[in-house]
Amino acid sequence: MDITLDRRTILPDLLPDPEKYLLVAGLAGSARDLAAYTQEAENLITLGGAMGGAVPLALGMALSAPEEEVLVLTGDGELIMNLGALSTVASVMPDNLSIVCLDNGGHGETGGQPGHTSRRTDLAKVAEGCGIPSVMTVVAKEDFAAARRFLEEAPAPRFLLVRVMAGPPTDYRRNWDLAECRLRFRNAYLGKWQAG
């Protein structure tokens, strides 16, 4: 299969309304791409470590904010470090959680070493096997309209696998101070909630 999608250019097409979600980004490339696209909006929390934590963090958020839609963007390596989280999500069945995995087949942040998905692992099949009810794979721009509909309409929790080329993420330097990011996200969310 020819992989032609460049991770640096796809988010506006895939997520045209990022402001309608509470957003979580897994470490490294996913965090940089989403931080750059949203200019580190107040509805985004990015990880800079804690590999494997993005999906369970988003699950805790989704269960605690049932009126909101939560979307987590993460990479194949980050997800594979804690595949069990997909089983956890499927057992709980949150109706407001979307998981989007940018699968570049390797570990971009550490030098582009190949990962399991460049060999034999198919994360969409893993998600299906774990019991995620809605699963879709995207490999080309032509699939994006269907992918947007999937994120809107497919029964949640949803898992969208986006196969992207190996290559650098968006060049963007985000805030590394997690305590500051926590307060910013929390105050923005709770302020909105208190304002009704």
Binding site: L22, V24, I45, G49, A50, M51, G52, G53, A54, V55, P56, L57, A58, L59, G60, M61, A62, L63, S64, A65, E68, N82, G84, A85, S87, T88, S91, V92, L178, A179, C181, R182, F185, R186, Y189, L190, W193
Partner: protein, 173 residues
Amino acid sequence: MTDYTKDQWSRLIFDKLAEAGVTLFSYVPDFGNSTIVEMADADNRTRTILLSSEEEGVALCVGADLVGEKGVLLMQSSGVGNCPNMLSLVPGGRFPLLMVVTMRGDYGEQNPWQYPMGQAVEPVLQAMGILTIRVDRHDELDTAATAAISAAFKAGQGVALILSQKFLGAKGF
């Protein structure tokens, strides 16, 4: 001391957590936390989340805090060994975190496999900046549970309430 049943101390812990506003009870199954989990399942203020690995619970509680809610992470002592890197979130982000750890590999343990991790629980947690409050006697539980809840949800610390095998009674296998 033998009069103090698992139902009684589980009730004390569950009630204090629920009253403190804890809504998410995440856990990896252990004999020691099973009654608390049953109570959280039965109460309409709280819900339980079965985890695959204990480290997920750290991130899950962090996610709850980001939207103003409270979680707790229940695990057996061996699960502490699955958590250290994920615990980076807690001191790094000044997130509150409350763990309830039921011990193996401790006083009276008969299974040699349990000792290495059991003996490493407190050093590992402390190395990651998590406070430890150990309970050996039944008459300590009430104040220890209150102290742990206050440290987490009033003072914003990462804290583990550790129920020792002196407290739980060593398992006969």
